[in-house]
Symmetry: C2
Subunit: 141 residues, 2 copies
């Protein structure tokens, strides 16, 4: 599974940890639900653990949420597994500094793309894992 | 130059067509300012032309804007040169339909990622090429 789906797989993983918390899902169990291999899931769990969103307990198999679902925002999940600026349009790196436009365009684009990315992230900040769980349950009803 | 910079190069190109409209910049002139090759610029110009943002005139070299700069939004530019969903996080394609979460997660993620992408695009919709030109000039002042 490609790195591009990490965020999507991370949300799926956290939803499983919340829904099946009594079972303490292992990477193998999670992989079966996600439709990927356990090593990809372990990589995602490792990044989520480093961000303080999931925890393992020594001597006990499986993982669990480190915080209640309503205290985990999707922006935290996104940042835990994404590269800096991964979903931001790239800026060309060698505009001509002797051109009126070329000398200034990078700063302008950085400002414009940054505002768009901030709006994208603000939407993720407004939603928590608890919202995701309610959306999942609403489909089951 | 990679496809990832197309949006960035497209904005640079349109800024040149506006700033140096009397000169009717050619793809070679644009490439010199952007810091890329003329064939990449021609590809971008072709996409911008197809979207009705720039025009060529038969028998005359170079290109020009098809509309005034304040009537070209950055969202139009973005859509002209990007693939559908190019900057949207990817969703894993084979979650397990026999799992409570796996069966429903794609629809939930599609809704959440769609809202975030819409916020990103709304920021681009609010800005025009005229805004970009003012930001460039402000740096020169």
């Amino acid at each position: 599974m490609s790195r591009a789906t990490r965020f999507s797989v991370a949300v799926h993983t956290l939803a499983l940890l919340e829904r099946f918390s009594d079972d303490r899902p292992t990477s193998e169990m999670i992989a079966t639900s996600v439709g990927t291999n356990a090593s990809f899931v372990r990589r995602v769990l490792s990044l989520l653990g480093r961000a303080g969103l999931v925890k393992a307990t020594a001597g006990i198999a499986g993982a669990s949420l480190a915080r209640p679902a309503h205290k985990i925002t999707l922006l935290e999940v996104y940042r835990a597994v994404s590269l800096e600026g991964e979903h931001r349009p790239a800026i060309h790196q060698e505009p001509n500094p002797s051109c009126f436009v070329g000398r200034r365009i990078q700063r302008v684009l950085d400002s414009v793309f940054g505002a768009a990315e901030a709006a994208f992230e603000a939407e993720l900040q407004r939603r928590t894992l608890a919202h995701v769980m309610r959306m999942i349950s609403a489909q089951a009803a």
